[in-house]
């Protein structure tokens, strides 16, 4: 784990006098972390995420990205560091070919056409869309569209990725593809923050989990600790993964393991049965 890359200091955010979306959120994110941000719709996840990349500025409090306060730093400098992948492809995709879609970001960053070409090649290869350069984005299937959106952020080479609901509408194969891609980015040292409702995905992927409710952070710690805290999750009506629930129930039988994944459950049984 490395340097502090984002600091959120007592951030409040109001969309209007009546609507307060964040109520005093504080947290620190270190370089290379892989974090899941969970909570019901309306809990403030997306508002927080948009404050991290300067799309929104705190009403009160500060967000510091690599030492720069988002309030007095031009937004494009922050968005070059913190890339944001939207949930709905229709909100992000706007060009006629896959190539153009991915080229848009780096071109905007002022890179030469040769550099842009190289960035597009690299990004498409990373997400497995090589060969689709001339395809119309809307001719891709939904899973591929999601990958295209990530590719267009990869091409900008941010240091931090915020992914909003990357697994929604995906089938299981698509989810596995995404897990592979996110791990790969993380292995390259990128910091990743995934907003998600998919608890199995959280259990299999993230090291740290932040739980939000009513504009506040109500849980922040190692994923195992947060997902095994059944009472805390119950407060926010979030169901832990089936394996976590199984091992919670097995406590009655004297099993004192907090398994998160099927592999961990298997290992636990291997120990018990040997």
């Amino acid at each position: 784990m490395g340097e502090k890359i984002i600091e959120v200091k007592d951030v409040w955010f109001k969309y209007s006098e009546e609507v307060t979306a964040l109520r005093g959120v504080s947290l620190e994110i270190e370089e290379g972390e892989l974090i899941a941000l969970i909570g019901q719709n309306g809990s403030g996840k997306t508002t927080l995420a948009k404050n991290l990349n300067g799309l929104l500025k705190p009403t009160k409090g500060d967000v510091i990205v690599k030492g720069m306060n988002t309030k007095n730093t031009p937004t494009h400098i922050i968005t070059n560091i913190v890339g944001y992948v939207f949930q709905n492809p229709a909100h992000q995709i706007f060009t006629k070919t896959v190539y153009e879609e991915v080229a848009y970001g780096p071109r905007n960053q002022g890179l030469s056409e040769d550099e842009v070409k190289e960035r597009v090649r690299m990004a498409l290869e990373m997400v497995g869309l090589t060969g689709y350069e001339e395809t119309h984005p809307y001719d891709l299937n939904y899973g591929q569209m999601k990958l295209l959106m990530i590719a267009s952020i990869i091409a900008m080479q941010p240091e931090v990725y915020v992914l909003d609901e990357p697994t929604s509408g995906q089938d299981h194969r698509g989810r596995r593809e995404l897990i592979r891609l996110i791990r790969k980015l993380n292995d390259e040292g990128k910091t990743i923050i995934v907003i998600t409702h998919d608890m199995r995905f959280v259990a299999e992927t993230s090291e740290r989990t932040i739980l939000m409710a009513n504009g506040k952070v109500i849980g922040d710690g190692p994923t195992r600790e947060i997902l095994s805290n059944v009472d805390l999750l119950k407060q926010t009506a979030i169901k832990p993964p089936q394996i976590v629930q199984l091992f919670h129930g097995l406590r009655e039988y004297g099993v004192e393991v907090n398994a998160l994944t099927i592999q961990e459950a298997f290992n636990a049984f291997k120990d018990i049965l040997s």
């Binding site: 019901q40 719709n41 309306g42 299937n141 939904y142 899973g143 929604s168 509408g169 995906q170 089938d171 299981h172 194969r173 698509g174 596995r176 409702h197 199995r200 009506a237 979030i238 169901k239 993964p241 089936q242 394996i243 629930q245 199984l246 129930g249 097995l250 009655e252 039988y253 004297g254 099993v255 099927i262 459950a265 298997f266 049984f269 291997k270 018990i272 049965l273």
Partner: protein, 291 residues
């Protein structure tokens, strides 16, 4: 369970104008009062299957058909969409695709389908009241459909279908885009309908959830039937499902691994949490006793 078929697929093969063989040689019966879960990767034909139940395929999409789909004994090709809408109700993945966008209130939205078919307003009001009560939206009558949460909108979509009193309710990934509370609300509504004896066809990726209430499971891949049997049987076919890219319930996959890697005798695999607690709890207790 009554064994009377309400829907018969008779070697049904369908090609969209631009996509050939979306469904290939589908041959099955759906019985009154049963809950049929439909699983498979994206592109397997789940949505096309759902749409061929209410005649959207081929009436709306065109394309070519071989074989037949019979609803209550009649070929869907020979029925009008209006006639079909009273027999088979379809709930889409996105509530926004379902809602007419023309109604100012929840109450009007629920009555929209019936008023299009010219039903008297007394009956429409009565049906709307019943349907809203059933999905837990009593008290929302005067609200705008667009200020509802995702879960509420999807329940409203179900109510608009219920108001037509169809004989079969078809849901195409109804919770895919909802948050956990929305998922819970919608699935509880579906379970309630199932327990009242409604005939339900539900396509879903949330296999751990449908394991609780589906009687039978149809697994599709590349437009073809790969499995069709009792839920307990199909969801325990761990290797087969994984080869399709479909994750079986975690508790079933665990049984498969324990059996294959450690030679543990499990017998019938659990597919729900309570079943799993019983089986694995017993396994642990036996082991403690022997130690």
């Amino acid at each position: 369970m009554p064994r009377e078929p309400i829907i018969i697929f008779d070697h049904f093969t369908y090609s969209y104008p631009t996509t050939p063989n979306a469904l290939v040689d589908i041959d099955l019966k759906i019985h009154r009062g049963e809950v049929l879960g439909v699983i498979g990767p994206n592109g397997a034909g789940k949505s096309t299957f759902c749409k061929s139940l209410n005649g959207l395929v081929p009436h709306f999409y065109g394309g070519t058909v071989k074989g037949r789909v019979l609803v209550d004994g009649k070929d869907t090709l020979e029925m009008t969409p209006a006639e079909l809408s009273l027999k088979v109700g379809l709930v889409f993945q996105e509530p926004e695709s379902q809602l007419s966008g023309l109604s100012l209130t929840v109450e009007d939205e629920v009555g929209f389908g019936l008023s299009m078919l010219g039903f008297p307003s007394e009956l429409i009001r009565e049906r709307a009241r019943e349907a809203l009560e059933k999905v837990g939206l009593k008290g929302f009558e005067k609200r705008s459909p667009f200020e509802l949460s995702g879960g509420e909108q999807q329940r409203l979509a179900i109510a608009t279908v219920l108001a037509m009193k169809p004989e079969v309710m078809v849901l195409d990934e109804p919770v895919a885009l909802l948050d956990p509370i929305g998922k819970y609300e919608v699935l509880s509504t579906v379970i309630e309908l199932a327990s009242e004896g409604s005939t339900i066809v539900i396509a879903e990726h949330e296999i751990e959830e449908i394991a609780y209430f589906a009687n039978r499971i149809l697994a599709l891949n590349e437009g073809r039937i790969v499995s069709l049997d009792d839920a307990k049987k199909v969801l325990a076919e761990v290797e087969k499902l994984k080869s399709l890219g479909v994750d079986p319930p975690s508790v079933a996959e665990l049984s498969y691994m324990l059996e294959r890697e450690l030679g543990v005798k499990i017998g019938e695999y659990p597919i729900t949490l309570p079943e799993a607690l019983k089986i694995y709890g017993e396994l642990v207790r036996e082991r403690w006793e022997r130690k």
